[in-house]
Each structure stands twice: as C-alpha cells, then as structure tokens.
C-alpha cells in the first residue's frame, strides 16, 4: 500500500490566527485505501487542518505556509472555480453533525444526486445503489424522505453516500461518529473501513477518541496544541508510544481490561490556548520528562523506527 502514489500529501502546513500559529508545520500523506487518523484534544487544530485541505478556511485564519497535493496535482493555489470542481468529486468531506450538514428541505435522494451533479430522475439507479451500499434498507422509500425523518445514524450514512457517490480519491471525515451512540458508531466505522478498501478511497479520519483510532486507523498522527507530536503505524503507536504525551494519554484512559478503581495516569494541568503558545515544546509544562532544552527549542519530528516519527528530545 505504501508503495502506491499517495492520494493526498500535506506538507509543512502552518495556519495562524493573528500572531498565534494554531497549526504549526504539519505534514502527512495518505495512500489509496488507507485510513489515517488525526487524533488530538479539543482545539489542537484538527478541523482547521481539514478545512485547509478542502481550501475552506474561515477568513480569520491565514495559511502561512504549506502545500497540498491531490494525487500528482498541487491544489494549494488553485483558483476557487477549479476547487469547486474538485470538492465533492475528487475530495469529499463529512462532518460531526450530519443533520446540520444536510439541507433540511430537500429529499435525501436529491441531495445524493446533487453530489453527482445530476437531477434525481437521471441519477436514481446510482443513488439507489449507493444507499444500499451504505446500509440503508428500503432505499426506494428513503429516497423521498427528508433529513428530519431519519435518525442521526441514518443521516450520517446519507452524508457518507453524498461524499462517496462520485468516487473521490480522498475522504476527510471530521469526527463522523462523535454525535452518535456507540452501537451506531461501530456500524459507521465498519462502513467507512469497508468502503475505503473496496473503493480504494484514502480516508483522513479526525477524532479525539483513541478507541476509534484503534478500531479503524492504519496510521496515526497524534496532534498536540497545533503540532504533530508523533506519527506512525497504528499498531506501533499503541504498543510502543514514543512521545510522553501519547504514552500518558493512553495510560489515562479507563479500559475494559484494567483494574477497576486503580489510579489512572494523570496529565497535570491542561491543554494550552493558542494565546499561551510559547517557545519550545508545547507539552513541556505538563511533561514529566521535561528538560531545560524543551522550553527553549522546538523538537523536530524525527524518525525513530520505520515510519514511526516523534517530536521529543527525551524520546
């Protein structure tokens, strides 16, 4: 898989709000059929990274640096007209709140057809097939229904249908299961994984949930305060985390296998706000392995093992 040309490459991406660099020099690539998880806590810059890839950044955010390539094509500076032809066709996105992302007044059939830029009458067979592929039973009846007539889980399936019907090379999924119950989440993750493999879609899955990452990701980028702390194959990140943040985060999560009521590992303090970002490693003030160097210099993301990189002086 890793020999194939990447479907998506993000290089040295930096985003700023005023003086605060909220996404700092981030890079990753995703191969066709691969699921890359971008995991991190609230505010670490996951959604902004997604918006930058889609070229849909809010006006307050400035892209200071970075390149984005879709297959062989550099889309960093494409005019908006060309981007519009790419979005929803070669590069699609789904969001946390499917109900909010769908048009409440339009039938779901028409909305899926619109993703193909065809009227429903013409696209009907394709829409029907797509609804079946995302596991919606009774597609003939569902085609005519509007979003409020469907549950949250079903709306997320419709969003996935909209996003994938044009067979995009890349799907960005921003917390696609966070608003759903666990039993529905499991179904949606299975669906995403199956479609990624079958259709060879490259998926960037954004989440704050290490359980979701463990379930579906091939590779992982762990983000902290706008930077990548560690990246590598999912199996390695979980079995042998190199960054103190990743290690502590994993040890702080209650698991079905731990000793009930035993003390969980604690990360002291809290996640910094962008206005508090200073020099050096942004995790330094919470890090049990902090050294004088950590607060003065920014550690670079460096390879420690095959495909496993970490940004830490102590690792």
């Amino acid at each position: 898989m890793s020999n194939a040309q990447p479907a998506l490459v993000v290089e040295n991406l930096s985003l700023a709000i005023g003086p605060a660099v909220v996404v700092d020099n981030i890079g990753f690539e995703v191969a066709p059929g691969e699921v890359l998880a971008l995991v991190g806590e609230s505010g670490c810059g996951k959604s902004l990274t997604a918006q930058a890839i889609m070229r849909l950044l809010p006006p307050a955010i400035r892209q200071q640096a970075g390149r984005i390539r879709l297959g062989a094509e550099d889309i960093t500076a494409l005019p908006e007209r060309r981007m519009q032809a790419i979005r929803g066709r070669r590069l699609s996105m789904i969001f946390q709140e499917p109900q909010a992302a769908l048009d409440p007044l339009t039938s779901i059939g028409s909305q899926i057809a619109e993703a193909l830029r065809q009227p429903l009458a013409e696209a009907r067979p394709a829409v029907r097939r797509m609804l079946e592929e995302v596991g919606i039973s009774d597609p003939d009846r569902r085609i005519a229904q509007r979003p409020f007539e469907l549950s949250g889980g079903m709306c997320q399936r419709v969003m996935i249908a909209c996003a994938l019907i044009s067979r995009p090379a890349v799907l960005i999924a921003d917390e696609p299961t966070t608003a759903l119950d666990v039993t529905i989440q499991a179904q949606i993750l299975d669906l995403l994984r199956r479609l990624a493999i079958e259709r060879q879609t490259a998926v960037v899955l954004i989440t704050h949930d290490m359980g979701v990452v463990a379930d579906i990701a091939d590779r992982v980028c762990v983000m902290y305060a706008g930077r990548i702390a560690e990246s590598g194959p999912a199996a390695d990140i979980f079995a042998a985390p190199l960054h103190p943040y990743t290690a502590l985060l994993l040890a702080s999560i209650p698991r079905l296998s731990d000793v009930p009521k035993s003390a969980l590992a604690v990360i002291e303090g809290r996640v910094p706000q962008p206005s508090e970002y200073g020099p050096g490693c942004r995790f330094a003030n919470r890090c049990p392995r902090v050294m004088p160097r950590c607060t003065a210099e920014t550690p670079k993301l460096e390879a420690r093992a095959a495909g496993h990189q970490v940004a830490c002086f102590a690792a």
Partner: protein, 314 residues
C-alpha cells in the same frame, strides 16, 4: 440497613405531541450505603431523567423515590428541601453549572451559608478544606469560574456538592464535557472521595469503560426500562442481556490488537421513539435473538445468577 436510595416502579412521562413520551417506565433499583451504581445506556434512554428524579428536580409520574428512607414522591417543600441537602447533583457541563459572577469560594460556601451550617471564619475554613479535598488551593477561593480550566471547574462543582456532606452524590456524565487528558484527574478524584467518605453515588454515563472503572454495580437502561442490573464484575465478564452484550461489543478499546480481534455484535435498526415504544420487550426490534414471546410479553427483571435480567431468553 436502609438503602441510601431506593427507587420502586418509577415512571416519568412527559407530554408529547399526541402520545406521552415514556422517558422512564417502571424502573426499580437501590443503592446501598457506600455503594456506587453506574447507570448506562444510549442517548435518550432516560438516564438524566432518572438522575433528576433522584434529587427531587422532577416529580415522578408514578412510583416511589426514597432517599435514606424518606419518600420524595408527593413530599412537601420542607421534606424536599431537607432531602436535597442529603442528595447532591454534579452535572455534565461545569461551565453552565457555575455562576460566572460569583467567586468560587462564595459558590462552594453558599449551601453552608443558606442552610445556616457555617458562617464567617468557620465558613472560610470549611471552604478552604473543601478546595483542598478536590485538589485545589485555598487561595483559589477569591477567583471567578472563568479563571479556571474545565477540569478545575468540575472540581469546584464537586466541592460544592460535597459541602453539606451528602449521603448520595448523583453525577450525570461528570467527565463527558472534559478534555480527554483531564478526565483521569476527575475520575481519580471521584474514586478517592468514595473511599474517603463511604458516600453512595449514582454515576450516570454512556461510557461503559468509565462506568466499569468507578462503579461497584451497574444498571443498563434501554428505552426507559432496565435491561440488566448486576455487580460490576458479573456484568462485564458475563453480560446476560443481549443489549448489554451488544453495548459491550461496541465499546472501542484503545488497543488495536484487542479491538480488531473482537467479534462484532451488530444491532440492526435504530432506537425506537419513547413516545411509541415497541410492544413486549422494548429491545425486540433490534435483538438478534427475538422470538414471539419477546414481541408479546414485557419481560420483568428477574434474578439469574448474580444478575437481574429483563429478558425472556436469559
């Protein structure tokens, strides 16, 4: 010994368009002194409604809620007020639970002052002790909520709930709104407080791993009814209700080796509406094992081994 909380045949119905919403329908359980009971289930199954009834914030449609033996259903204002001092609630969102214009010292001391338990220097000492108890510094008392992080604010809310030394602490999703890296701080604190005060706790959560970590016994709710109530180890080692099994199978474990080896227990369909719940067992529309009896007869909770299960087939 009198249970700290005893809920019997509790019903809470809300007026809906047409049929009433049967948010809680015939739920019974109790919590012993010093015990922590976890209440789990998916969104809309009625957890918060039960929690609110437990501290007297909602009047039952039918059934009984007894805190330390005193009946809340139909109780007069004086009784309710007395009971509320003994049963304290911690809500999900520490931001909206605190008044932004009140120093946190005032907020924590308020229940003591209002109920004339302490004032002046004694009140200040009690507030300082409560702050230390939840891992904050006494000199934090003069600050305002916005000067604290989410995790610290949840500590403040817990300190206020502890002020009157309640017999029952009701926590509704106490860590769901917190950053992942901060949740462990609060979970460790709750476990410490249980050990230190032998307080009873009703712990409401949709996260089965969190519930397993802090609870002694667990009640699983589905669409307004209890599916299963069991001691923690029995429930997790040997879940007896098909819904409990499906829920457990759906918890994503933060370990790819474990998670990817896990057998899937797919549930068909969606959660039905509590305004129009299915006949018989409410879970039958999604249950892989359902038979005719499940469609027709409502299963009562009955003892199977160490567990109580509401399933005809268990």
């Amino acid at each position: 010994m009198t249970p700290t909380l005893e809920i019997t045949n509790l019903k809470l119905h809300f007026p809906g368009h047409g049929a009433p919403i049967r948010a809680v329908d015939d739920v019974s359980f109790s919590i012993a002194p010093g015990e922590t009971l976890g209440l789990v289930g998916e969104s809309g199954c009625g957890k918060t409604t039960v929690a609110n009834a437990t501290v007297g914030l909602l009047a039952p449609t039918a059934g009984s809620v007894r805190v330390l033996g005193t009946e809340l259903a139909g109780a007069d204002a004086t009784t309710l007020r007395a009971i509320r001092a003994r049963a304290q609630m911690v809500f999900q969102d520490p931001v909206t639970s605190l008044n932004p214009r009140m120093t946190i010292g005032t907020a924590i001391g308020e229940p003591l002052l209002v109920r004339k338990v302490a004032r002046g220097a004694e009140l200040r000492d009690r507030v300082a002790a409560l702050l230390e108890e939840v891992g904050l510094r006494p000199d934090h008392a003069n600050r305002y909520p916005h000067q604290f992080s989410g995790g610290q604010r949840q500590r403040i809310v817990i300190a206020r709930a502890l002020a009157l030394r309640p017999a029952l602490l009701v926590c509704d999703e106490p860590v769901s709104a917190l950053d992942v890296s901060v949740r462990a701080q609060i979970l460790n604190l709750l476990v410490e407080l249980q050990a230190r005060h032998a307080m009873s706790t009703l712990f409401v959560s949709h996260d089965l791993a969190v519930v397993r970590h802090v609870c002694d016994r667990v009640a699983v709710m589905y669409l307004g009814r209890l599916a299963e109530v069991a001691p923690r180890d029995a429930l997790y080692a040997e879940p007896r209700h098909p819904y409990t099994r499906a829920l457990l199978a759906a918890v994503p474990e933060p370990d790819p080796a474990v998670q990817r080896a896990k057998p899937r227990v797919p549930l068909s369909g969606e959660i039905p509406s509590p305004a129009n719940p299915p006949s018989g067992c409410r879970f039958h529309t999604r249950c892989p094992l359902a038979t005719d009896i499940c469609r027709n007869a409502v299963p009562e909770l009955r003892q199977v081994g160490e567990s109580q299960v509401a399933c005809h087939l268990a």
